[in-house]
Amino acid sequence: MNNSNIKKISASMPIANINSANSNLKNLRVLLQQSEDINVDIHKLISRLRNMPVPAKTNMYFQRSLVQNRKILSVIFADCADLRLREFNLAGRRALLIYIDGLTDTKMLERTILAKALCSQEQVISEKKIAKIIEQILTPSAYTIAIKIAAAVQQIMMGNALIVVDGFRQTVVVDSAEYVKRGIEESKSENIVRGAHDGFNETLRDNIVLIRRRTKDTNLKVKIVDIGQRSQTSVAVVYVDNLAQSDLVEEVLRKLAAINIDRLVLSYNIQEYITPRPWPLFPTIQGTERPDVVVAGLYEGRVAIIMDNTPWALIVPYTYNTAMQSVDDYAMQVPVASAVRMIRHFAVLVTVYLPALYISIVSFNPGMLPTALAIYIAELRARAPFPTAVEAFIMVVILEVFQEAIVRLPNRMVIAASVVGGLVIGTTVAQAGLVNPLLVVVISGTAIASYAMTSYNFAMGLRLARFIIIIIASVLGLYGVILGTLVLLVYMCSLESFGQSFMGGFLQVDTLADWRDSLVRLSIKNNPLRPKIYGAQDETRIGGYRDGKQND
């Protein structure tokens, strides 16, 4: 800058003094501050205007002018650094290709759109329909026409490319979504010995394919809805049309439509929305990472809900019987499977009741024990400083803290933590005489029993129920344990899963047929009916349905 241009303030304001200069400076600062405030307000307003969703019934359409359309899209995608805009000539007109970098198969776009357009840029087509131009010049594998801005924007966000051509209101959505995703891997949470090892991943399309691959049934229907005002997450409702009750499907769709949330991240978000009770102790919706479990559920007349971006599919309704079933049960000899199933039921009882029974028998009814055992326990208890209930409570809390810590630890640390927890704490606490060794055995048995559950969420519910029963047992002894059991049973029966009680057909006199796959498992040949409790339209599983016709 030229120094000659710099003049003293006294040159322009000869009579100015320091006071008036200060006053002006102060005014200037106020003006600057106000302008900054106005700037912030304007930005807020712009941001709000941008984020304001267009009312559902309001349709905004593209203009004929490419410049206008580009301006609209620039406003919508302002500050989106990953948006790519590429202008090119198409049939003698200017066109614009828009896509999100990383979500789209750019090589395919180059091959089928840009290269083809470049080769034929001299060609002029005076066609009034954009589809004709696309068909004559470009070679996309699949495309759709969009005239509404909101629909086109949603397609871009899904990874598809949009072509806007000057002079056309219609735009072209090219099916070109391709993004980074996890491959098909084994389920992390539902390991099995024998059976398919492929599990769901985070891509809805892949997950639906995994189901379709297992059945060629055209009655298997998939309805996709978008949930979340902002996230617009795709959620698929999958069912077998001539098996699932239509009112069940409608109820699922109605409940999904009623979800009012800005974003969906976990499938459990959906679960919480569609579960009738706000604080259920046990899961009333089945969660699985296994496509074979979903297919089996669909052919029982149930409905699956699969959300994009999560490998967890949900299946409704869900009952205690289903919670006790594992894929492995159906891949081993029937007597062995039945024995394993009964052990699992027994494990439920051990998980919930073993510490409570210990407290109540040792504290309230030691007379129930054989004399020799009662004397042995009394000797062990003689050194322990705490009452039985406190002793048990401490151990159960330590166990829970320990289990929670192991779940959160990196894999390499788990073995070290197991040694510290199991050997050091377990042995030392008993040797120090803080708790008696029998209680350590009881608590360890309880923990191991809880690992036998097929559903992690169900096992967690049982663990919480164990605390409740321990508290009741500490106050009312064995009588309290029985009373607590009765109340827990009533609670479980009253838990609803899409119109069905959580206890479902378990030991019910009016669903005797379901007993074949309940406490025990009969051979598949001896179990020709679907579970009656799920109310499938066609109850017969064997010899009932073939080639789309009901056999006589």
Binding site: L483, V490, D510
Partner: protein, 372 residues
């Protein structure tokens, strides 16, 4: 259709409800009085009682068939007129609430005696009433699910009585001939206590979806009574066979005393009476739940309430108060006897007469050219 949690049950489930209503408290509480009245032939009185009250139960269903969508609260005034019908409803209500109080009082007494000698007795019925109320607050099909699971899990354990056969002496059941008719008649009277509770059929019947093909309610109820009769007769016969009729009448709970005498050496469970008491708790729970639900339903229908739950909550303190009153009544035995008489009259006079009235009215209407 998806079996939604609606307010209806099947015929088999009706059987479970009747089983739950009768198999609970009566088993341990009433066996002493029954043997005291019936002597050596008490088990025959039980069989006769099963047949008689089974027939009355079938009569209740026959009356119900004439009023398919009504409970007895609605049809009794139609049969007997508003005033007499109202009195019968009141009679039923008082009978059931008194029975519930008697069972709870006996339950508290026995649990305290056998399991918690240091616990105040009041705690036991109080907690039981609350647990039962929680269950009875639900719809009938949820209640039936609970009853069904408990019936399957606990009833087979009652087979523990069969272990008492090792001390069984068949001569104790004699003499059967010459047959002691007066004792038999007294035993038959006391047999009402054994089967008391089956009257809930009149309230639950409209909830039974009997239009579907399959088991009819009459057949279902007959089967239920057959099971109950065999079970009670075997238990009473075992008690008499082990203790003798005279001796059994001296014990507070002869059914438990019989099990106390069973020794199974080398097993973990040395105290079988405790095991029996543990499995008796769910049976009493079943009975009180059915009674509380029935009572609440009667009030709901009588006063045209939308729901049975307010009535149920209101009757909790009443049942508890009556239970405590029983504990302090010097003439508790006499009160129990009057409740029994009221029950017998209701079963053996009111119900048959009601059926006759219905048939007579139907015939006279048909004679006038009307159709039901």
């Amino acid at each position: 259709m998806v079996s939604r949690t609606t307010d209806s049950i099947s015929v088999l489930q009706l059987g479970v409800v009747v089983l739950a209503a009768t198999l609970g408290g009566q088993l341990i509480i009433t066996s002493r009085n029954l043997i005291k009245s019936g002597g050596e032939a008490a088990w025959i009185s039980v069989i006769a009682g099963g047949i008689v009250y089974g027939l009355v139960a079938v009569m209740m269903i026959k009356i119900g068939r004439h009023f398919p969508n009504d409970t007895f609260v609605e049809y009794m005034p139609k049969i007997w007129g508003k005033f007499a019908g109202g009195l019968i409803i009141l009679w039923f209500y008082l009978l059931f609430i008194a029975q519930a109080a008697v069972i709870l009082q006996g339950f508290g007494k026995f649990i305290k005696y056998f399991m918690f000698d240091k616990t105040p007795q009041i705690v036991i019925p109080a907690t039981m009433v609350l647990a039962c109320a929680y269950c009875a607050l639900h719809k009938i099909n949820i209640i039936v699910k609970v009853l069904s699971i408990l019936a399957v899990l606990t009833t087979p354990v009652l087979g523990v009585w069969l272990l008492a056969l090792q001390n069984f002496n068949a001569e104790m059941l004699l003499p059967i001939i010459p047959f002691n008719w007066p004792k038999f008649a007294q035993g038959l009277q006391s047999a009402w206590n054994v089967f008391a509770g089956y009257e809930i059929i009149m309230v639950v019947l409209p909830l039974v979806s009997w239009k579907s093909p399959g088991l009819s309610p009459e057949t279902g109820v007959v089967w239920t009574f057959a099971i109950l009769t065999v079970f009670f007769a075997v238990v009473i016969a075992i008690i008499i066979g082990v203790l003798g009729a005279e001796q059994a009448a001296l014990f507070t709970a002869p059914a438990v005393t019989v099990i106390k005498g069973v020794e199974v050496p080398g097993t973990f469970a040395e105290r079988l009476e405790n095991l029996l008491m543990i499995f008796w708790i769910p049976l009493v729970f079943d009975t009180i739940v059915v009674f509380m639900y029935t009572l609440a339903k009667v009030v709901q229908i009588k006063f045209s309430l939308q729901d049975h739950r307010p009535a149920l909550v209101m009757q909790i303190p009443i049942i508890f108060f009556l239970t405590e009153l029983n504990n302090h009544l010097p003439n508790y035995e006499i009160a129990s006897k009057y409740i029994m008489y009221a029950g017998i009259v209701f079963s053996l006079i009111v119900i048959p007469l009601s059926l006759l009235m219905v048939l007579w009215k139907q015939r006279s209407l048909a004679g006038d050219g009307y159709e039901q």
